[in-house]
């Protein structure tokens, strides 16, 4: 494959829609103020974790002024069943988890809908629920595969024997809590029916996928469903597929025969749009006298719901990170009376690498090796799992470059010896990784007679800068400046394209855009002059994606953290966080840095703050707002830097780029936890590293 020559690609072009966003001119799903006669729907959530609705008494609210409809399982429009059982909104009286939508009120104003919804009386036949994930939960089972289609378990060699005979070994269990995506813009939909045609303004990560799903649910031709998502205020995976908001808005609009808007409340976000499963991960590592891994074992326990299976691929990164002749990974799921977990930024890699990279740090201490050196010694020449060559792999360069930038050399490995007043100081390192996926997509490119170009693709810019990056890619493929190119995205009418997920947006859309624009340039060349009605070409990358084999495509990185822990209080501060990544060619240095830093910030937040706190008596996450569910504040993130090494990859895709949306969150929590250990000598193996987990275990001050 030849990688396109670049001019715009690689520059720091500012976000094209930036001015519109900061002036409020950019309209999000819930802001279509030119649509008239909009009604509002407010969901009612179950207050039991398991059981059945016995009776819903809507008499007190049904006839209130402004109330248009009360939706219940008894009168809700029938939906076609789908594999995503969470979308079967109001199709049964059964309750599968606390917070599930069990009714809804549609009214002329938001306030009326909400007040009436809160007055709705629902009686339940409640059953005993089971909501707590434990390592030996009685419902544990082995799923057919883990997301999206990886083997559930893998085994090579004689793991137990290798562990038993290893010169050095570690065996520890690490836990991560439920984590909630919490994009700034909550899930929102405005639904409008014209006869049997449905139009949705929807906040999602892929308008095409939402179109297909809604068409299936309402038994419509996909062409009868039009989904528009011009601007999306984040998703972190929680808007990867259609969510209940789209379904409930569409149902309500059909019932009351007018446009209906639904913007979920922050509280809803903690129950009905997905979250990252809690995990319990046992890692065993064995190494020879030189610190070469002889065995790697990673056993994962995590949860799914009773509605459907969601099997997070937590151990997949362990399968490819390091060389070792004996290796084993397993995943087991507990089916709980909880909402279905879904994707959250770097599903799989993020929790899995916290455990693996913590264990690597523990092993380095056992072997008396610098943790950097331990990783370098175990660098695999090929993908240890498939035996394929890497299309490129720069982990060692990232570790070395990061070490230079961070000032790692000469680090005293002893824990708990560096004081600065009341603060213990330490440093830690961890590796990052994320696959460089790509999916098939279609794109159209048009040359207009006035010398401008328009590209159309159902890409989604969820705040990443995708629109801007695609403009750069298109301009280079057309060999024109970005100022004469307009890229239209976020509209299902533009045809099939994958979602903004799996860090594969830019690679997949960029590929289709490159193909369409290259063909258009050639076409324009053949014409000489552009006719009055322009020239348009369509491209589809299915064949190219199909042919993309022979290599393991994967990005790598290294993250360094400094941690300070107060000996009197256990407070943890991370004054420095530095990441170096090998992610192929960086298309836009400004938006890329923002993605990497954003991922690292979220990783820091995971390390220190984020935790869905379960109340087992009720079966819900009780800290369901942003005052109680803490994400890192600006004051928590002081000096944070992301860099990248020069990585040329001629195999990965025509842009030579790897995804950058998720790799930044992978490994961060381990780097922080390792730094906390170096600072204090205390190893916290269950996130987040809260002060009360440290207090009482800290050394008493000497200096």
């Amino acid at each position: 494959m030849s990688v396109t020559a670049t001019r715009a690609v690689g520059s720091a072009l500012g976000r094209i829609e930036g001015p519109a966003k900061v002036t409020g001119a950019a309209k999000y799903a819930g802001e279509q103020d030119d649509i008239q006669d909009v009604a509002y729907v407010w969901p009612v959530q179950s207050t039991i974790a398991k059981g059945r609705i016995r009776h819903i008494d809507d008499a007190p609210i049904r006839d209130r002024p402004q109330v248009l409809a009360v939706l219940t399982p008894d009168n809700a429009p029938h939906l076609q069943p789908l594999a995503d059982a969470e979308l079967a909104v109001l199709q049964t009286r059964n309750v599968a988890y606390r917070g599930q939508i069990v009714a809804a009120v549609v009214a002329q104003t938001l306030e009326t809908a909400r007040e009436a919804a809160e007055q709705l009386q629902i009686e339940y036949d409640e059953e005993a629920h089971d909501v707590e994930l434990t390592q030996d939960h009685q419902s544990l089972y082995k799923p057919e595969h883990v997301n999206p289609s990886f083997p559930t378990d893998t085994e090579q060699g004689e793991v137990d024997h290798a562990l038993a005979t290893a010169a050095f070994s570690v065996d520890h269990t690490y836990e991560t809590p439920a984590l909630h995506n919490n994009p700034m813009e909550p899930h929102a939909t405005l639904a409008i029916w014209h006869g049997d045609e449905l139009t949705l303004y929807d906040s999602n990560q892929g308008a095409y996928s939402v179109q297909q799903t809604l068409a299936q649910l309402f038994d419509l031709d996909p062409a009868a469903v039009h989904v528009m998502s011009q601007h999306v205020g984040g998703g972190f995976g929680s808007k990867g597929t259609a969510r209940v908001n789209a379904v409930l808005a569409a149902m309500s609009a059909r019932l009351v025969r007018r446009p209906v808007k639904l913007a979920l409340h922050r509280h809803h976000q903690f129950a009905v749009v997905g979250y990252r499963t809690p995990t319990i991960q046992r890692i065993k590592l064995g190494a020879d006298a030189d610190g070469r891994l002889t065995a790697i074992s990673h056993d994962v326990v995590e949860q799914t719901s009773t509605l459907m299976e969601f099997a997070e691929q937590t151990a997949i990164a362990t399968r490819i990170m390091y060389a070792a002749p004996n290796r084993r990974t397993t995943h087991r799921l507990a089916r709980l009376d909880m909402p279905t977990p879904r994707w959250m930024r770097a599903p799989g890699e993020c929790p899995g690498m916290y455990a693996l990279e913590s264990a690597m740090d523990e092993l380095a201490i056992e072997c008396d090796l610098d943790p950097l050196e331990l990783r370098i010694r175990n660098e695999p020449a090929r993908d240890p799992e498939s035996g394929k060559p890497w299309s490129s792999r720069s982990l060692v360069e990232c570790l070395r470059d990061g070490a230079d930038r961070f000032g790692w050399a000469g680090r005293d490995p002893r824990p708990a010896v560096r004081y600065d007043g009341s603060w213990l100081v330490g440093t830690g390192v961890a590796a990052s990784t994320y696959p460089a996926y790509a999916g098939p997509a279609t794109a159209a490119a048009r040359a207009e007679r006035d010398g401008t170009f328009v590209v159309r693709i159902t890409a989604s810019d969820i705040g990443t800068g995708a629109r801007t990056a695609l403009t750069q890619i298109a301009a280079d493929a057309l060999r024109v400046g970005t100022d004469v190119v307009r890229v239209d995205i976020g509209d299902s009418a533009f045809g099939q394209a994958n979602i903004a997920g799996g860090s594969m947006g830019t690679a997949s859309w960029g590929w289709a855009v490159t193909k369409a624009c290259t063909e258009l340039r050639e076409e324009v060349g053949r014409h000489g002059e552009i006719p009055v009605d322009g020239i348009e070409v369509h491209a589809d990358t299915s064949a190219e994606i199909e042919a993309r084999t022979g290599y393991k495509f994967q990005g790598f990185g290294a993250q360094f953290a400094e941690a300070r822990v107060n000996v009197d209080t256990g407070e943890v501060r991370v004054p420095r966080l530095l990441g170096v990544f090998g992610v192929g060619r960086v298309i836009n240095s400004r938006t890329a840095r923002s993605q990497l830093i954003g991922g690292m910030t979220m990783g820091l937040s995971m390390a220190l703050h984020e935790e869905g706190v379960l109340d087992p008596a009720f079966g819900d996450y009780v800290n369901h707002d942003l005052a109680e569910y803490h994400v890192a504040s600006c004051a928590d993130v002081t000096d944070i830097a992301a860099h990248w090494v020069d990585e040329q990859d001629d195999h990965v895709n025509p842009m030579g780029s790897k995804g950058i949306g998720e790799i930044g969150i992978v490994g961060t929590a381990a780097a922080v936890a390792n730094a906390v250990h170096h600072a204090t000598g205390v190893r916290v193996r269950d996130l987040p590293i809260r002060l009360d987990k440290l207090l009482g275990r800290l050394p008493t001050r000497t200096g």
Partner: protein, 329 residues
Amino acid sequence: MKAFQFSRADSAAGAVRSVAANPRAMFLGGGTNLVDLMKLGVERPDELVDITRLPFDRVHLDADGTVRIGANVRNSDLAAHPAVRTGLPVLSQALLAGASGQLRNMATVGGNLLQRTRCVYFQDVTKPCNKRRPGSGCPARTGQHRNLAVLGGSETCIATHPSDMAVALAALGAQVAVTGPDGDRGIPLEELHRLPGELPDQDTTLRHGELITGVAVPALPFAERSAYRKVRDRASYAFAVASVAAALDVHDGLVRDVRLAFGAVAPKPWRAHIAEDALRGRPATAAGFRAAVEAELAAAVALRDNGFKIPLISNITVGLLQDLAGARS
């Protein structure tokens, strides 16, 4: 949200009259707590009387050193006031450690004192809570109580009072000025909030219709040597998990006088009288500080997840007193 009447008071007497006449009327300050609670359905007033236009928006330094703070002074203005910054650093620091810049710009002194607990069960109307619905039960005892009380709680309620400012004012021995249907009265800040006992729904000793008009901080010669230390789960924009307000007067190595109050450990700002008494006249040493604090904390009761607050309060109090004594650089 339930529909409600809204009016803007132009006199304190008028405001009191309106609220006193309607058992479901409430005063509205900056609204940063009340409006949130209305959205959650926790508070369901049918009438709001906005009091922010009333002329209680000044900070005045009396000749005798008393600092008089109007009830409507915004938290950010109070924190920035020169008399507070230099004369009452503990108060300025406590305010600045609370909430966010935007919230402090809205929040009033009166509203800050009367803000309600952040207990997650209190804020969720789908669950029992003795403070919200007396007799319905307290799920926090066995549920999520990591940030709830170790001092002053009862079987019925272990909510903590969340204010930072009130902890500083408690240490400073402030007096709350109130006007109500039965006239004016003053309440020592320490007696404004009450312990839950059998009546956890009653946060304060105020009667319905009583309006806070201001707070007076009496002159305290050593208030310049005061400070606030807050511990929270992130570096900014979080309620305290433990905090301490202290003012210390050391002479010849002995504690001549001291003021001490704890936050986030009790249903009210916890003035540490036992510790203060144990400190006065004793050597200003770390050991002495620790013994005094431990005497205060002897009554503390820990549940499954909040016991860490006891050593935490102890550590930060000892540290802060050492700082104020100049023993720690």
